[in-house]
Amino acid sequence: MYPARIEHYERPQSVAEALAALGRFEPGDAIFLAGGMSAMQAMKSRMLQPRCVIDLQDVAELQGVTREHGALRLGAMTRYAAIAADAAIPSAYQALRDAAAHVGDRQVRNRGTIGGSVSWNYVASCMPATVLGLRGAMLLAAADGSTRRVVADDFFLGPLETARRDDEILLAVEFPAPPAHCGSAYAKWGLIKDALPVVGICVMVGLDDDDKCVSARIALSGLADGCQRASAGEASLLDSEGDEQAIAVAMDAIAESVETQSDQSADADYRRQLIRSVGREVAARAFARARGQ
């Protein structure tokens, strides 16, 4: 468990310097290091053998949570601990705090970043499904100065795969200004406390003035194919009032339609059951938040 030879270590002070460092290597030969909670393991096991590591921890412009006209922007290097502690995050995006507060242990939350997690896109992780469930978009910059926004539905391609190109850096994860009466929640189930999710569920709902559900997004984590939307459940929640019965029906619809795997953490049947039991609790919390409770 010792890495292969790493020829260069770069510690840029700005995004421009980071991109310049990246440009000095062939695509794939240099990697960005965010919190290092996954990439360091991958290098130690030699799954990754980069020639150069570009450590982003000094890049101030990648840090922190900002808000503008109700929209929320999380710098790619924002740590889980900072997200979990940010009481100003609106009810629409509370799922971010739910998820960030239970990633790994305290040490991991003090180092790991939202940008690192979505860029790595591991199947058993909390952030990709949360960002997907919350309609997040990834803001990417390339060396030529161009930027582009990729919505989560297009960004997460499959396990350990994203739409980020090798010549791009992730600047931030952005969330649009939410409509009124919008709430979200995230929870996961693992065998031990705060473990990687065997099943993770993010639910975001918007209500009209009569508390009727007018928008619903549900995303799942822990599935072999990577994070994904649960459209059967979303459709089922629409027009409901988020009562116990409606939520149970929606979660049943997801459990019955989702393709899931059997592995050493849980077999397919039990994963379906976890989707039901975790999903009910998460959806109820999302509705409560949407109602301002």
Binding site: M1, Y2, P3, A4, R5, R46, D105, L191, I192, K193, D194, A195, L196, Q264, A266, D267, D269, Y270, Q273, L274, S277
Partner: protein
């Protein structure tokens, strides 16, 4: 020895903070990986990717050509210069099929992770680079993974020369002869035929064990004048020394083994003599340079700490009024490859079968065991050595008997506990002393069963499912020679040297090698209480075969039983000498019993003006040995041994309260209460810590930890993402209570504790879950106990109801 007990001062039973902790929590501990010698090389094992394959060829030429690589050894390179295992020092006196093997695989690999080659390089990075350049050409062979199929006549063989995958089989009841055993079995069968109630179930416990915080490591240094010095992460340096002498054929005076003072846990995992030790010593000798190997977590989870893994077909015959009559158990253990020095893979299940009958008065028992070899890592000792599965089976089955006859399981247990000791179990295990009923009644009082039943009934009306579960355990207090000689070919006695210093300080030397249990503190308290000095004036050295008396090692709860008893015996000899000379100096006719050692002084009880400070009399005897009594010489150092006439035990009982969510199968432990007979307490902090650690390990084994092999024998659980350990947030507060009985066979009444302690945990836990699910009639018989298993059992029970 009663005089010693009377002399025992305030330090015995004091809640001292541990002497070890300052250095450990301030980063000043020195572990094996902190040891560096000039010119030291780094070693890395290339390990098998296959569970079972023939080695056709190994090409290490590219690896050898890599700059920085000093040597690469394969099985073929060393086969003629290293003796194969088994060697007698690491061979139990039990009849078994002992496979022959070398430290590196020779003709074939037999489990995923087996060492195939050793790379020695200037640093560990180069060694890893070189490992990728060692090309092994394998021919895959059919893998043997299921212990039942392994025993079929047509099974492929793990060790072909043995002609069978049955490494060990034994009937533990009915005496030594087949006739006696058959006669006993027939008598047992008669009891079963006539019994009101028979419970007959198959109980399975998965492969799980212990993962010390610090994995293994070895640093060896060779020079032609002194020979070999080996620092090994080990619980038993003196045994490792003998093994290195015999296997590498080095003259005994040229081998010194040192277990580092600080070790990050052993729990049995560092008790065997491992093949890796041989190779590092071999390389250091061949290269005449220090060579160090530090095991990675990945290697550790691939190779060691794997235990349990038994199927027990257990039957109980009982009367309808709650008398347990007979127990019959046919055990089958999956030994894995079984190539671990001292224990192979079957010594653990052997002891597990011995300990099966537990604390109950069976009229008769029929206990048998078969152990199968498979293409997995060898079982290695893990705290609750061998009997985690058998105790789970028995304690679960007792609850099933209670359910059948409609009696409280706690009451059924109470009626059948051995009422007075000593007692010899149906498997011929000797229980020396204690008071099981007192421990049990203390538990019930603390648990308040009637209050719980009322709460449970009220909760059920609200659709909530609470449950209570009980279990108990007779555990070894040290391992007597009577058991250790046949089981491990080693002596059980404790040994300690106590050396007094002219400044009035005390140095204690022990040959055992602790891994964090607090020997330095408990030993200091014992010495301080006997000499009437402060524990801070006592230092303890362990683990160095060059400076300590021979000891069988830190195993089987030997500290509180054997080691401190040897220390006490040595102190008593020194007290005798001190008081003889002091009486002479004071010109009085007096001996040991006329003096008190207290508050740094030795005081004549007949006239308290006649006294001397401990330091002054010690300095006088060591430094000024003139005007001595006739026949006395100076100096104050004594090596003493301790061995009780018979094996000794300690006893504990657990109560667990859970709440189960019948929708998801999730369950939460709401309360954990214990009752312990640990004999005389030396340091309650340390004993509490032993109990906390043991119960957490038991829970973690029962609920989370599992070594998983796929159908090709690939180990899928070699990291902590997949091998899940309990965290602090996963375990309940633990209410430890004591109902101690001093052991009459040790000088201070102490008992050795903590080793077997996890074994009653899975029974108490699973009994509680089943009690919660009594309305559904769920009886769980397999571990791990996880929400998915509970959920599935509920689904099945509901299905049957429909």
């Amino acid at each position: 020895m009663s005089s010693v007990e009377k002399q025992a001062g305030d330090w015995l039973g004091a809640r001292l903070t541990r002497k070890e902790d300052l250095r450990l929590v301030t980063g000043q501990g020195r572990y094996l990986a902190d040891l560096v010698l000039p010119g030291m090389l780094h070693a890395l094992f290339v390990r098998s990717e296959y569970a079972h394959a023939r080695i056709k060829s190994i090409d290490a030429s590219e690896a050898l050509a890599l700059p920085g690589v000093v040597a690469v050894y394969t099985g073929a390179d060393i086969k003629d210069s290293v003796k194969p295992m088994p060697q007698s020092v690491v061979l139990p006196n039990l009849p078994a099929r002992y496979p022959t093997f070398w430290p590196l695989a020779t003709d074939k690999v037999k489990f995923h992770g087996e060492p195939v080659a050793l790379i020695v390089a200037r640093d560990k990075y180069v060694a890893e680079d070189a490992a990728e350049l060692v090309y092994v050409d394998y021919e895959e062979l059919p893998v043997i993974l299921d212990p039942e199929r392994a025993l079929a006549a047509d099974s492929p063989l793990v060790h072909e020369e043995d002609g069978s995958n049955e490494i060990f089989a034994m009937t533990l009841t009915g005496g030594e002869t087949p006739e006696g055993q058959a006669e006993n079995a027939a008598e047992v069968e008669k009891i079963f035929q006539a019994a009101d109630v028979v419970v007959s179930e198959r109980f399975r416990v998965h492969r799980t064990g212990i993962t010390p915080m610090e994995p293994r490591g070895v640093l060896c240094d060779w020079n032609d004048a002194d020979g070999l010095t080996a620092w090994i992460t080990t619980q038993r340096p003196h045994i490792d020394r003998l093994a290195l002498i015999d296997i590498l054929d080095i003259p005994g005076e040229q081998v010194r083994v040192i277990a580092p003072r600080d070790q990050g846990g052993g729990f049995g995992v560092k008790a065997p003599f491992y093949r890796e030790n041989i190779m590092i010593a071999y390389a250091a000798r061949a290269l005449k340079r220090p060579v160090r190997w530090v095991e990675s977590r990945y290697e550790s989870l691939m190779n060691v700490g794997q235990e349990r893994d038994q199927i027990n077909d257990l039957e109980i015959a009982a009367s309808k009024d709650g008398k347990l009559l007979a127990v019959r158990n046919h055990g089958l253990a999956d030994n894995g490859v079984g190539t671990t020095g001292v224990y192979w893979g079957f010594v653990m299940p052997f002891l597990g079968a011995v300990e099966l009958p537990n604390a109950y008065t069976w009229e008769r028992g029929d206990v048998r065991l078969r152990v199968a070899t498979t293409n997995k890592a060898s079982l290695t000792p893990s705290r609750a050595f061998g009997h985690f599965p058998t105790r789970f089976a028995l304690e679960r089955a007792i609850d099933m008997v209670a359910h059948r006859i409609g009696m409280e399981p706690a009451e059924l247990r109470r009626r059948n506990l051995v009422p007075s000791l000593p007692y010899t179990s149906v498997t011929n295990e000797y229980y020396d002393s204690g008071d099981f009923l007192r421990v049990w009644d203390n538990l019930l009082e603390r648990a308040d069963l009637p209050a719980f039943r009322a709460e449970q009934a009220a909760a059920r009306k609200q659709g909530r499912h609470l449950g209570i579960g009980f279990a108990c355990g007779v555990e070894l207090s040290g391992v007597a020679s009577e058991l250790l000689v046949p089981m491990e070919n080693q002596p059980g006695y404790g040994a300690a040297t106590v050396r007094l210093d002219p400044r009035g300080k005390v140095m204690v030397f022990g040959g055992d090698a602790p891994g964090g249990q607090g020997h330095e503190t408990t030993t200091a308290q014992v010495v301080a209480s006997l000499f009437g000095i402060d524990p801070k004036d006592v230092v303890v050295t362990t683990g160095d075969t060059g400076t300590t008396p021979f000891g069988a090692g830190s195993i089987g709860a030997r500290a509180g039983s054997y080691f401190v008893s040897a220390v006490a015996n040595a102190c008593q000899e020194l007290q005798d000498k001190i008081t003889r000379i002091l009486a002479h100096d004071l010109q009085i006719e007096a001996s040991r019993q006329h003096f008190e050692f207290k508050d740094g002084e030795v005081v004549y009880l007949g006239d308290s003006s006649k006294r001397k400070t401990f330091r002054d009399i010690v300095e006088r005897i060591i430094m000024h040995p003139i005007n001595m009594p006739e026949g006395e010489v100076g100096g104050l150092e004594w090596t003493a041994f301790f061995e009780a006439a018979k094996p000794m035990i300690c006893f504990n009982a657990d109560c667990c309260i859970v709440e189960v969510d019948v929708d998801s199968g999730n369950f939460e432990i709401r309360r954990w209460v214990t009752s312990e007979d640990v004999g005389t307490l030396i340091n309650p902090n340390i004993v509490d810590g032993q109990m906390h650690g043991a119960i957490v390990q038991g829970l973690s084994n029962a609920m989370f930890e599992e070594f998983v092999y796929d159908e090709q024998g690939q180990q899928l659980s070699a990291d902590f993402e997949h091998y899940k350990l309990a965290t602090a947030a996963d375990v309940p507060d633990i209410e430890i209570t004591y109902a101690p009985t001093p052991c009459p066979h040790t000088p201070l009444g102490t008992r050795g504790i903590g080793e077997g302690r996890p074994s009653s945990v899975p029974g108490a836990l699973t009994n509680a879950v089943c009690d919660a699910l009594a309305p559904f009639g769920v009886e769980l018989t397999e571990l791990p106990l996880r929400p998915d298993r509970v959920w599935r059992a509920l689904q099945a029970a509901r299905g049957e109801r429909r």
